[in-house]
Assembly symmetry: C2
Homo-oligomer: 535 residues x 2
């Protein structure tokens, strides 16, 4: 059973290690550890549904509560403090495309809004219910999870869009293939969710961002059926798949996707290399990326993140030995760590390893083998669980990300961290902020910052601090020409910053296209852009 008010399985406890707690208390002060609202009290706050009973639709309080939120900080704080709402009035769980269309038709007749619900993992408010007077249906995709068809010759697989990461992979692996899309939310997030939010997995360097995996898609829309793509490579007009990618539910409900798949890799390893400072690690990352070295992933943590990772890696004696070794190699006491993956046939992996190590060493890197990479791989989806342990220890955590050209990476990440510190300082609080670059491209990379700060005594305090933090960091990103999101989408939280990226004309184009098949504006309104008035 999933935890109703946090990340992951309820039975999986993730307490903060004693050492980490002491470290945070010293850096940030002790946070408030007040108890959370109970499930029973949260359910008691769910009002009567505004939609009549209907076979197959759930209107019970717990279902509606569980579908009222994603995993953004705002969602999280509301859940813990018992301030969730508004709620959907019903949860529909159609079993296929035809039933999905039937739900849309029923919603239209009822004058209701539809919010498609995949894995519930959005961190930017895609699932938030906005009360504009209309009843709301959460359209849960959890019954549409099957591998529908696979063509090993052309390496294409058609999969129902509600399939979560593990089920996507296990069904493909039975045929000897993988999709290779591994975001941190992999356990719960779904194929359809990845597509409509333009997700990037940790190994996107090998397998592509989700837009590179998408061959074709099928959607149920209020105004009819929409099929896009399905051609090998076409010059026939605009690529309409690229309107579905990033459509965030506003165009319709994605029910099936045909994706490119790859044979299960023969070999995979993750190597760690240390550098004396951020500039050296960044230079190595750029060199490896621009030389086209076929690493499957690459990230460079800044000194603070490297330090944090070494602290939580455990194995104190091994880490102490590592620090002594790096000192002996004259890397100084603030080293930065690069991790890169090599994945594929043994020959491919061997070449990528050799090329990446040669370029890393040329930039002053010291390779330390694959033990730290194994630790990273073992915990690659566990980061989200830390949020539970931090909260319970009295701390809030959020992450913010962008992508920028190589030439702006250092200044942007510094400015983001500074904005985080200043935003919390304005509330009399300190912040712990550390970052890495990852998802390397020829022109640049993504930047990913983690911020930890103290919990306050109540919901209003926590939200007020976070709003300031989110606003100031977002403005910093926009001011430096970064995208407002490299991998999480827009939802509610980033909607105010989208216009800076698309311009007024681009916004008009986007709205004209996405609204074409939704004349009533019933599909996930108030997401991507703020609707002026409805209902």
């Amino acid at each position: 059973m999933r935890r109703w008010n946090g990340w992951g399985e309820a039975r999986r406890e993730t307490p903060l290690p004693e050492a980490a707690w002491a470290f945070l208390a010293q850096r940030l002060g002790e946070g408030d550890r007040g108890g959370d609202a109970s499930l029973a009290s949260a359910c008691a706050g769910v009002p009567a549904a505004r939609l009549p009973a209907r076979p197959g639709w759930d209107r019970d309080a717990e279902s509606r509560l569980r579908h009222a939120h994603g995993q953004s900080f705002a969602d999280w704080a509301a859940l813990r403090h018992g301030a969730v709402g508004p709620f959907p009035d019903a949860v529909a769980r159609p079993r296929d495309h035809a039933e999905t269309r039937a739900v849309l038709a029923a919603a239209e007749r009822a004058g209701a809004v539809v919010i498609p619900y995949g894995g519930g993992t959005s961190v930017v408010g895609h699932l938030q219910v906005v009360d504009d007077g209309r009843p709301v249906i959460s359209l849960d995709m959890s019954r549409q999870v099957r591998l529908l068809d696979i063509d090993p010759h052309d390496r294409l697989a058609r999969i129902a869009a509600g399939a979560p990461g593990p089920l996507v992979e296990s069904q493909l692996r039975a045929h000897g293939f993988v999709l290779g899309h591994y975001p941190q939310s992999f356990e719960y997030s779904t194929l359809g969710g990845w597509i409509v939010t333009r997700s990037a997995g940790q190994q996107s360097r090998r397998y592509g961002r989700i837009e590179h995996c998408l061959h074709g898609a099928r959607l149920a829309c209020p105004g009819g059926e929409l099929e896009v793509g399905g051609r090998v490579a076409s010059s026939a007009g605009p690529d309409l798949r690229q309107l579905v990618l990033g459509s965030e539910g506003r165009l319709g409900v994605l029910t099936e996707a045909c994706v490119h798949v790859t044979p299960t890799p023969e070999h995979e390893r993750f190597h760690a290399v240390f550098f004396g400072d951020w500039a050296a690690g960044l230079a190595a990352a750029r060199a490896i990326s621009q030389a086209g070295v076929a690493v499957s992933m690459l990230r460079v943590s800044n000194a603070d993140e490297t330090d944090t990772q070494l602290r939580i890696a455990g194995h104190e004696s091994a880490i102490a030995w590592l620090r002594r070794y790096l000192g002996w190699r004259r890397l100084g006491d603030r080293p930065v760590m690069m991790l890169f993956g090599v994945t594929g046939s043994r020959r491919e992996a061997g070449r990528a390893r050799a090329d990446a190590l040669a370029l890393a060493r040329a930039a002053g890197g010291v390779a330390v083998g694959t033990a730290l990479g194994r630790a990273w791989a073992a915990g690659r989806f566990a980061g989200a669980y830390l949020r539970n342990g931090l909260w319970e220890a009295g701390y809030c955590v959020d992450t913010m990300e962008t992508a920028v050209p190589w030439s702006r990476a250092t200044a942007t990440v510094s400015a983001m961290q500074q904005a985080a510190h200043e935003a919390l300082h304005a509330h009399g609080e300190r912040a712990l902020a550390f970052s890495h670059l990852s998802h390397v491209y020829a022109a640049g990379c993504s930047l990913y910052m983690t911020v930890i700060w103290r919990r306050g005594p109540d919901h209003a305090t926590d939200i007020e601090r976070w709003r300031r933090l989110k606003r100031d960091v977002s403005r910093t990103i926009v001011a430096r020409g970064g995208t407002i999101s490299h991998q999480h989408g827009v939802g509610r939280d980033h909607a105010p910053y989208l216009a800076a990226e698309t311009g007024a004309s681009g916004r008009r184009l986007m709205r004209a296209a996405l609204a074409e098949l939704d004349p009533e504006g019933m599909m996930n309104p108030h997401k991507l852009w703020e609707d002026d008035h409805v209902g």
Copy 2:
């Protein structure tokens, strides 16, 4: 000076070799070699302009004649037979983005239509003037050709969109970079034209289709300014670049593009490998592509195309020796030829060569070195000139192309050739049709068919034969699920088949988006889709 009624420079004569002529006469019968209409007579047929004189706008007959067409077969037959028209009423040549906007504003005031004109190389009717009662301005981009900015660190270059291939490359090579986009029309076609028609160059396997090169673009639209992209990698909503790509002038005039560039390659070779039959060549192509071997291009000619290529390669004694060698290696007398390119650093090229040759040999291939590849590279842009020589010898030629999954490649290319034979047979004519696959992808490849048939006595006969041919082959492509165009776009000639690819809902989306900034429908109307009524 460019030839006014055919391909290329007027002074470059490309007579058909005697042997080829004899071969065609034997296969197809002798074609009509009646003389062409003269430039003077064609100019005499240009009516008075419907727009008043304006500084910087040309209204003379020859300018208007030269901007009244592209290079589709219909354009070609009209030029040769002296049946060109309708004509634009004026040719404007704005020098920059601001002047381009001014032309659009003037056009709007005059109630005129605007047809953006790049290199004039469209083979599907993008430049055709359709008389819907409104005056027409051809907006010639030939004064917007400069490299505006280059960032070697991030490998991005901003280039004015009217730059033709050679000028794109020479300006970048001065900085040590290439774009690497080499369509057969390279000599004349422009960066902006490539983008708005989703072009694929011969080495798209290395450098990407033009959509993979495009970082950002700037357009002048009737409804304002549009800038798209310019972010390293974004998950913030739909990718609006992908609406510009393939917009074919209907969205506005693309004036500047920022593209990814690559260092000038250290090494480049093109290798030839022969196989006993098409199935073996196809299997090798798929193996190389799906193994991710970094060849820069790959094509496999079928037996008829291989035979034709060997005939026109000259060097009779060398070819006779080659045929004996292939016979000795038991490849039979109908071999098929694969060409693949290796491009990049010596190390990259060496690995790609070794991997590709190993997979080719495993499929039964016999490698014969790089001499045939050198011949291909030397003549890679010359194919279009053959059209002049063929016409003057009494023959018509056209090419038709698509892309399909690997599993459908053989059946589709056979059906295309059969459709071509039958279409001309219906007119009592024979056809010479041969094909190759190229532009390999994980899921499939493009198919490119060349068809040669006899010229008839007059324009009506030539057009009638061609219409039947184009219609029947297009229907065959669509019926087999191929795209109506892998690399040439839609224009007028493919517009009837686009709906089969996009569906009705997709068409609505596309129109809603592209028309949003063009409320009067003044931008290149009747292209991509047929406008119902205007003016």
